[in-house]
């Protein structure tokens, strides 16, 4: 059995704990609110909305989707280990694979739903005229893929290091952001580029909106490779996880 319904329920409850769901919902709502505001205040002879859509779409891809995944996924294992409650999971006849897969599936579903909905709503209220449905669909597909991959990555981070959120933020800002724009090579290992490539593949997008740096096939292959590799890492790490105090 790869999926544990009891654990799924627990993970869901943890994700919705107290303020966490408010922050995450707020993040997802921000671009939708922005898009609505712009839509309302827009008049016919203002700039074409594709131009305005760019910062909002960029915001969703570079901030909203990864940060939602960061908040939910890095705390999935992170707070359990910090609080010491991980022992309730480990001292049970449940295979470590089952634990990782269950947590991943639940967290990923939440992130994908939030990210895709956010992109969908914001996109629909902004884009007119430039083959809108395919554009928004493509962007949403990219957002969904990104949500999944980020969840995988940050779940592993929470397991591997104590300062999961900090490392995740540094990865986003430094690796995907700064280094990604300077060094070509790092783009092969950047979730953001996979998202863009997939979106580009599905839709025919004018070059003013964005230019995907990776060919779609590379993105698909690398996404699969990264996902499998990181999930395997998670399971291995959990198998070797030592709970102990000195003395």
């Amino acid at each position: 059995m790869l999926f544990n319904p009891v654990l799924a329920g627990l993970t869901l409850r943890q994700a919705l704990a107290k303020r966490r769901w408010m922050i995450v919902l707020l993040l997802a709502a921000v671009p939708v609110v922005m898009a609505t505001l712009i839509h309302l205040y827009n008049t016919a002879d203002d700039e074409p909305l594709q131009i305005v859509a760019i910062p909002i779409m960029t915001l969703i891809y570079t901030v909203i989707v990864p940060v939602i995944a960061l908040v939910l996924a890095s705390s999935s294992f992170g707070t359990e280990i910090e609080d010491g409650t991980v022992i309730y999971l480990l001292a049970k006849p449940i295979s470590r694979t089952e634990i990782v897969v269950t947590k991943l599936v639940v967290t990923a579903i939440i992130c994908i739903v939030l990210g895709a909905l956010s992109m969908l709503c914001a996109g629909m209220s902004l884009v007119r005229g430039l083959d809108p449905t395919r554009l928004v669909l493509g962007l949403t597909a990219g957002a969904a893929l990104g949500a999944f991959l980020y969840t995988v990555l940050f779940l592993a981070l929470g397991l591997v290091t104590k300062r999961g959120m900090l490392v995740g933020l540094t990865y986003l800002i430094v690796w995907e952001g700064a280094l990604g724009s300077i060094f070509q090579g790092t783009r092969v290992l950047s979730v953001r580029q996979y998202m863009l490539a997939v979106a580009d593949a599905i839709t025919t997008v004018a070059p003013e909106i964005f230019v995907a740096q990776l060919p779609a096939r590379t993105a698909y292959i690398m996404s699969a490779v990264v996902a499998v590799a990181v999930i395997t890492l998670c399971i291995t790490k959990l198998r070797k996880f030592e709970v102990g105090q000195t003395g």
Partner: protein
Amino acid sequence: MAEPVTPRTGVIYDIGYQHYDGPRLGRAGAVRALYVEGVRSIFGIGRGGKAKIPPVALVAMMVIPALVQSAVAGLAGNMIQLFSHATYFRTTVWLFGLFCAFQTPELITSDTQSRVLALYFSRAVRRSDYVLARVAALATSLFVVALLPHMVLLAGTWMSAVEVVPAIQTSLPTIPRILGGALAIAILLSTVSITISAVIKRRPFATAAILAFFLLASAFVTPLILQRPDKMRYLALSSPMIVGDGVTTWIFDTTSVKQKADSIAALDAADALARPPKNAVDSAQQLRRRFRRRNRTVLQAANLPGLAYLGTMAGFIVIAGVVLTLRYRSVET
């Protein structure tokens, strides 16, 4: 029938615990200790190698461009104006945001998380003392960090000048501006980030919250203002990044915030009179013109007087004070 209870006299035995009857440092000593310890946690001093990486890396990133510019000036002989003092603040205000996001939780949230507040407040330390000491620690640290690149730039200017003394004299009026700008950024960012850190219970979430507020407030507001400056301009006051940018720009050039905006407003007016595009070439031209207009800064689009930003800064501080007082009123044990 109740028996008479024999009264027992209790005695406390002196079993040799040491007394201390000497002079005590009192409140001032406690506040000073909180301040010093605050500065130490901000820079990761005494906390192992890993804790030093974020602050050192960020400070390095802030200073390196200034170093590069001064070095180039020293080698090439004249200053290549990559950065002026005014624009340096704009480029580094984001690095300050990161610095606060990473380090303020170490300063404030770790006290909440490890539950030492009850220990602190059962000593000769008032709640206000604690808050002020921590704010002072963060603000002075930010102030020093903000000054560093400017000192490097000044040193570069002076040493690459043909005659040193007149060069020093010309840059004298900028010094109070630099100090003012650094002070403004330090106070604004420290109060806002400390307020956010104080209400959040875990360190990583405090970091995320600070970053989200700084980043999102600015990212949320910027496209809106650029799209419709007339209706949305006051939104510029909601983002600490923009307010900080506004105050420093105002300090360095009290006219530039409004003036450049006026010239661009003229451009807007001209565009509004333009006819609808006749053909593809014309519409592409219009698009390009609009793109260029897009490159004006948020400050220019918002077109607000410098005092508005200063007033907002004061407003942030007042709100921070209220929130912090309420938060530290009750402390869990």
